[in-house]
Symmetry: C2
Subunit: 338 residues, 2 copies
């Protein structure tokens, strides 16, 4: 019942620690016979290397940190799912670090995180990938990082995003194709680059059909359900009332739906509602929300996989990639009532 270490394996197999280490790491220059012998002892003693000792020797922790501050819990869950998938495939662990700081405090908070846990790399989820000070700080400290769903940077960092502008364009086009001309828009959190992108897509679709942009139809949200309620109130109070609302995420869209229903409006007959993200809530409510499905899990998994590759093989060229999103139509949008 004693602890099995590299030393016990070495003495059992009658070889040196270093040779055991070579077998462990699949290093060359070990004869087939020796390798067999050591592997047999691994089995016999049920040996597994101590990752902490390994970490100390190599100055690695085998831990990836995930930094987030997002009002949408389901988004975080999806990010975690993707990150975990990548970690498990590579024998890494995932440390989660919610963080609400900004500016100076953010930097020192992250600095402390790095000092107390010696992360091998860090995933920046929205909005952190869009904070230049943070990106510069990590670059200066030589901490590998990957950005998820952030704006494109003209550098060599790892970044995986989806095409928010195009998604917003398509869903707005969808509404327009149903005859809507007065389409309200609820913006997301101003810190998130997706917020600008989605707004741009909305405006491009309007322009594409020569629908005049009307500033009164635009509300400032922050991706939270609560902000959706506030925005919905303003929008539903407008006169004339818009025939459709496009909210920058599904939580806010759900808020619009709730308020509209509370006010005895029929959705989609009296007003169409569209969201973004394809969060679980989009199909948990009635009517189901028309929305844009983003491959959040896939994006994060790709980002973390690349991050781990980069940690193990720093010479490999990192790449930035943009995944496609797709329109999902449900019951919350319909042809405008004449």
């Amino acid at each position: 019942m004693k602890k099995v270490t590299i030393n016990s394996v070495a003495s059992h197999a009658g070889v040196s620690k270093k040779t055991v280490s070579r077998v462990l790491n699949n290093e060359p220059n070990v004869s087939a016979a020796t390798r067999e012998k050591v592997l047999a002892v691994f089995k016999e003693l049920d040996y597994t290397p101590n990752p902490i000792a390994r970490g100390l020797a190599q100055n690695r922790s085998f831990i990836i940190g995930c930094l987030y501050d997002n009002p949408s819990k389901s988004y975080i869950t999806r990010v975690q799912t993707g990150a975990l998938a990548a970690c498990q495939e590579n024998n890494y662990n995932l440390l989660i670090h919610p963080c609400e700081y900004r500016g100076e405090a953010l930097i020192s908070n992250v600095e402390q995180l790095l000092q107390t846990s010696r992360l091998d790399g860090i995933v920046l989820t929205p909005p952190f990938g869009d904070f230049p000070e943070l990106v510069e700080f990590l670059t200066a400290k030589k901490i590998p990082f990957a950005r998820v769903a952030s704006a494109i940077l003209q550098d060599e960092s790892i970044s995986v995003r989806s095409n928010d502008e195009q998604g917003a364009f398509e869903i707005t086009e969808h509404l327009i194709s149903l005859g809507h001309k007065s389409i309200a828009f609820i913006k997301g959190h101003p810190d998130h680059s997706a917020t600008q992108q989605r707004f741009k897509g909305y405006r491009r679709a309007l322009a594409n059909h020569n629908i005049e942009f009307d500033e009164r139809l635009v509300e400032e949200g922050n991706f939270s359900y609560h902000s959706g309620v506030d925005s919905a109130r303003s929008i539903l109070d407008l006169s004339p009332r818009p025939t459709a609302v496009f909210a920058s995420n599904d939580y806010m869209a759900a808020a619009v739906l709730k308020l509209a229903t509370q006010r005895q409006l029929r959705v989609p007959d009296d007003i169409s509602i569209a969201g973004f993200d394809n969060a679980p809530i989009a199909r948990h409510i009635w009517p189901g929300l028309t929305t844009i499905a983003q491959p959040v899990e896939e994006m994060t998994k790709l980002a973390v996989t690349q991050l781990i590759n980069h940690i193990t093989e720093p010479q490999e060229q990192p790449f930035q990639i943009t995944l496609e999103s797709r329109l999902i139509t449900r019951e919350s949008t319909a042809r405008v009532n004449p």
Copy 2:
């Protein structure tokens, strides 16, 4: 820009490593003058100890693992929030480990987790706290653990739960007080002890008012939204249709609400719906769900705090505690229509 280690601090301060270590750990037997001097060097060199090295020496990782397999994502989010709060207060990190295995495979999966990450302790969230083989395994391996929302065991382990039976009793009483006599019930996942507890509370309330228990009104769910849809279908097809439905969690209740609305039933006029947990969705939909609020974050925080205390001071007596839940009435329940 060199790395600052305990050695550099020691030579800078003109003392031995060990003395620096003493200052670091607030050990006694260091003169005030020496302590001052060392602390000054800490500041000057901006020193922070390497947790990996410390971990190797003490055979600790400063990491708590959180084991989960729960169809309700929002529940996990809340668990994480509570666990993180406790970890941050104690300079621990949280490693998340979703795991869908059962029986033998579960044990070997957890064994591997422990081997590859040397967790200092582990939080068992539902349903894992109710798996005797797992509890025995961890006890045998002497891995400290805490159970959240699991059944009471007659031992000295750490456990924090809420009173599911009482909560279910109260919400059923609430429905009965509104005149309902035909109340359908949707069970949760059979692996979760809460499932039995909530069912017991439901039956106790019925018995309390001499309402005969009718097996046809009971559906097997598993806490997922999808299972709620299936159960809802059976229930709404019953004739006569029950006047109320009590689902064992809010996701399943939301599914009932969606299906009922889809079928043109008015909630709560035609049918009352009650849930459990007070998940975000309970207030994101219309009508809002009457439900039982459980202090999930608080429970988990308490459990993890106690777990960390137990790791640091193993002599302290662990305790089991049951927190209270409370009824939240919203729009989804109303007096039965005569």
